[in-house]
């Protein structure tokens, strides 16, 4: 199931979501070997940051809630990691974040010199008051961040969006206008809260946290659907995908690649090979291809208006 994505050949359409397992080269490599076409590093920030106190991640059965809080060694303190990654044998997506347009630009400028295959800008994390999501809920700030980053990098730019935006399609359009090469949607939804009734307090130390996993899949599918109609750049669709059929649905909504994050919780690291097999089996049983189903839920008119499938 090899696929070309922004001129890069990937062995399959699956992507490891940022924030999941992406802490070092060895684990990224293992995820790739386990059947993931494109792996994403944990978001890299402007300065060392510990993230929040525990509890930070909780499984709720039908999905997860987390407020890890963007821990990062800081872009300038990862020399050993960058050196290891120079020797990699897999395509790499580097996720970055900042607390201001300037910070995004500073991190991006540094990271692009380390030659990741893509830079994903996280303008969608709900778990810090000063970073991320505040840039992804307004068209103007999304435009400003994307265009500032685009100026300083020489690899394709992916904008990762939040479902908290009042109209995610408009944000996606602003990102495209600012020069984004692709959209990644969605980051965690909510934020939500879980209160322990015995302790009489929120379970997460940060109190609120982003929702992920199967419980948010319909939101993710709707967002990808809306974005597909609004932009002509490709989309990485993610949010609650755990099976090949979920991936089919995401592709039919308009995704070119399909991300998996919380799914690792439900099926282990083997989820990538499993979803690939299930996806291939579904396509084969229906005598079709990835291109044949991309955007299928929109009907022929929309697909044709967009100039066919990419």
């Amino acid at each position: 199931m090899t696929i070309r994505f922004l001129c890069k050949k990937l062995k399959n359409p699956l992507v490891l979501a940022s924030g999941v397992l992406g802490n070092n080269k060895e684990i990224l490599e293992r995820v790739h070997e386990n059947g993931c076409g494109l792996v994403t590093m944990k978001s890299i920030g402007p300065a060392p940051r510990d993230g929040h106190k525990n509890p930070t991640v909780m499984d709720l059965g039908h999905g997860m809630i987390n407020a890890v809080g963007l821990p990062t060694p800081g872009y300038a303190h990862m020399e050993e990691e960058w050196q290891a990654l120079e020797q990699r044998s897999f395509p790499l997506n580097a996720s970055i974040y900042g607390g201001s347009v300037k910070e995004y630009q500073t991190v991006a400028k540094f990271v692009t010199a380390k030659h990741p295959d893509f830079i994903e800008i996280n303008i969608s994390c709900p778990n810090s008051d000063q970073h991320g999501m505040i840039f992804g809920v307004s068209e103007q700030s999304a435009f400003d961040v994307v265009s500032a980053v685009k100026q300083v990098i020489d690899v394709p730019l992916i904008a990762k969006l939040t479902p908290q935006a009042p109209d995610i399609a408009r944000i996606a359009r602003a990102c495209e206008a600012a020069g984004a090469d692709a959209i990644c949607a969605i980051n965690t939804a909510g934020p939500g809260m879980v209160i322990d009734i015995e302790a009489r307090m929120p379970v997460l130390a940060f109190k609120k946290g982003g929702l992920s996993g199967p419980m948010i899949r319909p939101i993710a599918v709707r967002c990808v659907y809306d974005i597909y109609e609004a932009v002509s750049i490709p989309i990485i669709g993610l949010g609650g995908v755990t099976t090949g059929e979920d991936a089919v649905e995401m592709i039919m909504a308009g995704a070119s690649l399909v991300g998996i994050g919380s799914g690792v919780r439900y099926r282990g690291m083997g989820i990538f090979n499993q979803v690939n097999q299930e996806l291939a089996a579904w396509l084969s049983a229906h005598d079709t291809t990835l291109e044949g189903i991309r955007g299928a839920a929109h009907g022929k008119d929309v697909i044709q208006k967009k100039g066919g499938n990419r």
Binding site: G19, V20, L21, G22, N23, N24, E26, I27, E29, R30, K42, P48, R49, D50, G51, K53, N54, P55, T56, V57, M58, D59, L60, G61, M64, N66, V68, P71, T72, P73, G74, H77, M78, E80, E81, V194, D196, E198, A199, M201, V203, A205, G261, S262, V264, R265, G268, M269
Partner: protein
């Protein structure tokens, strides 16, 4: 009662607190928990933090965790009293794998005794039933090292004889657990007694690494339990990765075959920020958090 699972925490009240030494306390809970020795639970003190702890005592109706007061969380934990509520998620990870080996060594360093204690008791079951265990041919060689005499956990708990060593010589052999283990391996070789078939170890990582190296040089398989900073406990967040191994789900117990592939064993651990540092830097940070 609602079972403790790997999902949102189940709150339990401390049933009993036992002060083990100047630095250790064991908290008992009246709850039936399914677990394998070596697995861990995430322990939440509301308003403070949540940390991984191994189960140090287990009966069909109770379990306990043993805490060494070192950092902010553990100092709060040892101060808990009966009636206080604590949240639990788990049990997580892979515990010690128990086969049919007859010649076993169990080596504990400091509070590394905590996960090994239920293992010793599991392995002791057949021994207990024997009328007179043959003292010259112990099935279990049991070694425990600690800073000094008062840091020897559970002094009167086991049927199996324990060989003690301390850093200051205040009890047993003055020196390292590896001295005693190597001595035993050599003695067995010289006297023609069957060699050790499995070594289980938990303690400071440098100690476990020495045991692993010793076992490798004599061709003895071993299993050790690693510790890393953890968040989710179920293999998603990546906070605890050691090379390409996810300690919370691939471990925390790793066998010789796996340890051979782990370059970061006794070399690197991640801080809370995700920054990889030396084990010395890691442990000095852990003692403050």
């Amino acid at each position: 009662m609602k079972p403790i699972t790997d999902q949102a925490p189940v709150m339990l009240r401390v049933a009993k607190r036992e002060i083990n030494s100047p630095a250790f306390a064991t908290l008992y809970f009246e709850f039936s928990l399914k677990f394998i020795p070596g697995q861990f639970v995430m322990v939440w003190i509301p308003g403070i933090d949540e940390k991984p702890y191994t189960i140090s005592q287990h009966t069909p109706t109770t379990f306990a965790i043993t805490i060494e007061a070192k950092g902010i969380f553990s100092k709060q934990a040892v101060a808990l009293v009966p009636g206080d509520i604590v949240g639990f998620r788990g049990p997580f990870g892979n515990g010690f794998s128990v086969g049919s080996c007859q010649n076993i060594a169990i080596v504990a360093g400091g509070c590394g005794m905590a996960p090994l204690a239920p293992l010793v008791e599991t392995l002791e079951l057949p021994l207990e039933k024997k009328a007179q265990p043959d003292k010259n041919h112990p099935n279990i060689l049991f070694i425990h090292g600690a800073r000094s005499k008062e840091f020897i956990l559970y002094p009167n708990r086991f049927v199996t004889q324990r060989q003690v060593c301390t850093d200051d010589g205040s009890s047993g052999h003055k020196g390292f657990v590896t001295d005693l283990l190597e001595q035993e391996i050599n003695t067995r070789q010289k006297t023609g007694r069957p060699p050790l078939e499995m070594v289980y170890a938990c303690g400071p990582e440098i100690m476990m690494h020495r045991i692993f190296a010793l076992c490798e040089s004599f061709g003895i398989p071993c299993q050790v339990s690693l510790e890393r900073y953890m968040r989710c406990g179920f293999g998603v967040c990546g906070a605890c990765v050691c090379g390409d191994q996810v300690v919370c789900t691939d471990g925390p117990v790793f066998d010789s075959a796996k340890l051979r592939t782990m370059d970061d064993f006794n070399r690197t651990a991640l801080l809370k920020s995700g920054k990889p540092v030396s084990m010395d830097q890691y442990f000095s940070w852990r003692c403050q958090s």
